[in-house]
Amino acid sequence: MVRMKVAGEMSYEAFAAENPASGAAPAPKQIRPAPDRRTKETKIWAVGGGKGGIGKSFIISSVAQCLARKGHRIVLLDADLGGANLHTFFGVDRPRTTLTEFFERQIPLSSLVCETGVPNLGLLIGALDTLAADHIRYSQKMKLFRHIRTLPADYVLIDIGAGTHFHTVDSFLLADTLIAAVVPELISVENLYYFLKSVFYRKLLRAMSENGWKTIIFETWKNRRNLGIRNVKELTDYLRTQSGEISGVIDEALSDFLFHIVVNKVRRRQEIKVGLGVKSICMKYFGLDARYAGYIEHDELVSRSINKRQPYLQTHTGSRCSGQIEVVAENLLQQKAFG
């Protein structure tokens, strides 16, 4: 592939070509490889969590706007196959082109990206009109995932929709940055834990399967009562004792596994702390690394703007809620904890 040269900078390859005398000598320190936008990998973020209108779509579409405003090129992928509605958050009509074209007519993904009215921000609708989600073959799905990475964007943000179906969980696991949304209510926290455990189990299952140990994890989980395993942490603790190799694979799978928690629809000050509590439980009970990225308060005007087909962030730039969304976006960018 031809590398693009950025003014004032020269790639090592170019430097070596123009200076044959340098031969195999190590690259001089001051010459860095030119940053090539096309080879720079697209980062994927995904939001998931419980069901029941906790604001996953609102959060991801708002965070997308924040990133786009900062000058990042964003593609928002609506992978809520049953209930794609991200276009509504931008007040645009539902785009006609969807992933169906990609699967059935081999149309390239990049040409299916629609405008949202926000500069730097494109929308890709995942709704599969004729194809039931269950019928996408594994190979097709892997192809989609590969193509997502090649989209001309700095970040692809995915709304995976609700639920813990393996299709949903797989789209979530595709991401580099995992965002878990919750509202300060018992049911929502319960759903979130259930979701996180499913994600974790699937991640573990994949790592184990890749090493030919699928049956080990199945058998262990099936026998969990006899083995005294009550949760995912005890499952991994047990698997680790089985062999050094297994232990290494688990460590590897967990090493870059990090959840960013966002608490939405906060109505009282005390509810801000729910994020800290949930984070702590994830770490101490489930053995999962988690960070509290921030909270967003409940604002009546959110649904009112959506009903008026106005993007909330644009019509309420200075509101507290908008400020909190910006903090969340910034913390996610920096992989930082809130507070």
Binding site: L186, N231, R269, V274, I281, Y285
Partner: protein, 203 residues
């Protein structure tokens, strides 16, 4: 993770138990400790959904780890600062018992809670950016020396929030007392003494 210079590995580990970064301050350590003790010592929407998955014994172990980490960190900071930081430290449930009998959040209540949590005014000031002088005025209810009401309200609510008290209630309780005092002395204007100093400073 490599420990940053100046902090031994067991201190970094203790900070991890309290879910804090390596550069955490003493104030953050205390806040996190109080928070985690409350979280694992009681039930809330964060713990209820998993209560069936964890035995009482495991839970007790987590609490013991938190306590041990906190003790180690306090000792570390004591050595570093060369003063006893733990004298006035009370357990969270002791503070809760004290608060249960409190009907109105006064300056004296704020002071007591601060002392029970083992903070000196300078630590509160560093965290909340409320000047020490104003913290002391609030604790002593030195109404005559107060800044204009909007500032006082903000200071009281910031202070209460820092202590983990209901900020709205604290500021409304406090402002009620402030207003009562103002009525008694028969004038609605902010205290002259402070005003002068305030405007002078601004210029």
């Amino acid at each position: 993770m490599t420990p940053p210079a100046g902090k031994p590995a067991e201190i970094i580990e203790a900070l991890q138990v309290l879910e804090l970064p390596a550069e955490a301050t003493l104030t953050q350590i205390r806040q996190s400790y109080r928070f985690l003790k409350d979280l694992y010592g009681g039930e809330s929407i964060a713990t209820l959904p998993v209560s069936g998955e964890i035995s009482t014994k495991d839970r007790q172990q987590i609490i013991e780890k938190i306590d041990a980490a906190y003790e180690a960190l306090i000792r570390f900071f004591e050595d570093e600062r060369g003063r006893d930081l733990s004298v006035q430290r009370s357990a969270p449930d002791e503070i809760a018992r004290y608060l249960a009998d409190v009907e109105e959040i006064t300056g004296a209540v704020l002071k007591t809670v601060r002392k029970m949590q083992g903070f000196v005014p300078e630590e509160v000031a560093a965290e909340t950016r409320i000047p020490v002088l104003n913290l002391e005025r609030i604790e002593q209810e030195d109404f005559a020396a107060f800044p204009p009401p909007v500032y006082t309200r903000g200071f009281v609510s910031g202070y209460a929030d820092f202590l983990g008290l209901e900020a709205d209630r604290a500021s409304s309780d406090f402002m009620r007392r402030f207003n009562a005092w103002k009525e008694n002395r028969g004038g609605g204007n902010p205290p002259h003494r402070f005003r002068l100093a305030f405007w002078k400073k601004k210029k």
